[in-house]
Symmetry: C2
Subunit: 335 residues, 2 copies
């Protein structure tokens, strides 16, 4: 039997959001800073509690929620045959982050959620975003498409032949760590030099000029030469990465989100396109780039899509209630 | 009803091979130089005639063959809703090849084959090779695996979550044209500079030293410094490309074939491995590299696998009749 209500979680390195939705649309969304102390079960337990808090805010009986979809930062790892988080921005034992107040390794996310919920679907946040854009957004009915986020980090969700790709541990799409310029000194958080994220991400793009990414892009658009050059160069690397993915997967359509693209995509797109259009026409002809349609809450919507009953879809497509999610997000105080 | 016999074609830029097989194994294999003159239908018509010649050699009634699998060089393109070849080493209108005696564009391969055969399955040669290695070779039962050929060119067949990837026109796996070193002057046949094929393929690796690839690798193994450096550098680029694919697809196992790897893989493997093992353990831990098990006829075997009746598989796995294909290949005169 279809559920009356479903829960959705968006788990990031900084904050976590829980949404409760019914056939008419999202009913409540609550957020909290992601747990970083206590036992490694803390993140999963916080997620369960946050779904309960969202139910309280929505006036939905918590016991009716047996189904949750989860959009989470990664990478993932297997732990006791279930999916765990090996996220360097949450667990202290990865990547030597001295600023994290824990020594966690792999976090048992799926296990803790399954203790409470009967149906649990967990995807990388970019895979969830692609799911959202395929269900309600810019790439409906497109079997060969890739979601890319250009934001603090760089990530991808991949769809080939109409199927989302997962890989051995659900980590397909980590092409932000693709090597682009081995001679570059640009350092990624993962330790790579010259990977895509080191060359283009919001976290690193302004490093050489000691500017934040927003300041750098603002200066670039105001014609400050060094900032302009840095932004153009980043867009070229980003375009080359899309080209690399297009020849690897024979992609037809890229849908791009993330804060950098949301604010500067119209200006950056021709530079990105040039790197695709000037190479290997047998593969690149007809490749298109479109902006993400679902905005900053795309991963939350994706988490909802992961377990949404199919008979809700026509109603949601008709009423577009995901716009309400943005309003809920602005209204809700941290619980 | 299952066919009694199936045909298989391996279409390359230089030669074409047709095989006829039954439940006990391959029965005959005939080869010819690939047609390059006449109408654009010539390649497809030659393929049909070559299946007939293989039947004659095998003593199989030609009218019994209604099913063919095809392993072909690419790239592919759509023509009248069916798959065609846009191969720069066959059709003269691509890539400005003045040495080809035709002005063909896209060759109507599927259309011509379907005029004669009821069941036609066409795959890129590396996808067919992966099919063979998954069915009878080194990656049986492995859902997340990639076949790579390191030969005159560089190509890939991709499998994620237990499914072969095709993409919008069946061209997934053209990662030989992935950009690796944008500053490099090394020129690929496709026009790219510094893509994987330009940096590592048998066609290009010896260019700087004016040596053929076999001579270069022989000199490298005899300790000639310039040749040794060139071979090591190529192996590093190849390893970085495998790393890039591993983080994109979350691959567990790479199976490598092609003449370079068949002859020098044992020596090159540690250099390649190093480029994977030293990066992003969350994605690369447990990634393995194994040599292709099916040798130089892997694409022919793959073409057979594409349409092989499932009840033949246990018999073929038991008797391993593909070894007979090598003997047939040596024995058969060009028809």
């Amino acid at each position: 039997m279809n559920p009356l209500y479903i829960g959705a979680l968006d788990i990031g390195g900084t904050k976590m959001a829980a949404t409760v939705a019914g056939v008419q649309g999202p009913l409540a969304r609550v957020t909290q800073p992601t747990a970083k102390t206590g036992s490694p079960r803390a993140v999963g337990e916080q997620a369960v509690a946050l779904v309960q808090a969202a139910c309280a805010q929505a006036g939905v009986e918590y016991r009716l929620i047996d189904t949750v979809g989860v959009s989470s930062c990664g990478p993932f790892a297997q732990i006791d045959g279930m999916l765990g988080l090996a996220a360097p921005n949450i667990s202290g034992s990865f990547a030597g982050r001295a600023d994290l107040p824990n020594d966690w390794g792999v976090i048992p996310l799926e296990q803790v959620l399954r203790e409470r919920f009967g149906t649990v679907a967990i995807e990388n946040d970019c895979v969830a975003a692609l799911m959202a854009e395929r269900t309600f957004g810019a790439v409906r009915d497109e079997p060969d498409c890739v979601y890319a986020t250009w934001s603090t980090g760089i990530g991808f969700g991949l769809c080939v032949d109409g199927r989302l790709l997962h890989g051995k541990h659900g980590n397909a799409g980590h092409a932000g760590h693709m090597l682009m310029d081995i001679q570059s000194g640009a350092l990624c958080g993962c330790g790579n030099r010259g990977d895509l994220e080191a060359l283009t991400s919001g976290r690193s793009i302004g490093n050489d000029l000691s500017m934040s990414a927003p300041d750098l892009f603002a200066a670039a658009r105001n014609g400050v030469p060094a900032a302009h050059d840095a932004a153009v160069q980043a867009a070229r690397w980003f375009g080359r990465a899309l080209y690399n993915i297009a020849v690897t997967l024979d992609t037809r359509r890229f849908v791009i989100g993330g804060s950098v693209w949301l604010h500067h995509g119209a200006w950056l797109a021709p530079i990105v396109r040039q790197e695709i259009d000037t190479r290997l026409p047998a593969l690149t002809q007809g490749v298109s780039i479109v902006p993400a349609a679902l905005g900053t809450l795309v991963a939350d919507i994706g988490a909802l899509c992961l377990t949404m009953p199919p008979d809700w879809l026509p109603k949601w497509r008709d009423a577009e209630p995901w716009h309400a999610l943005a309003a809920l997000a602005e209204a809700s105080p941290p619980s």
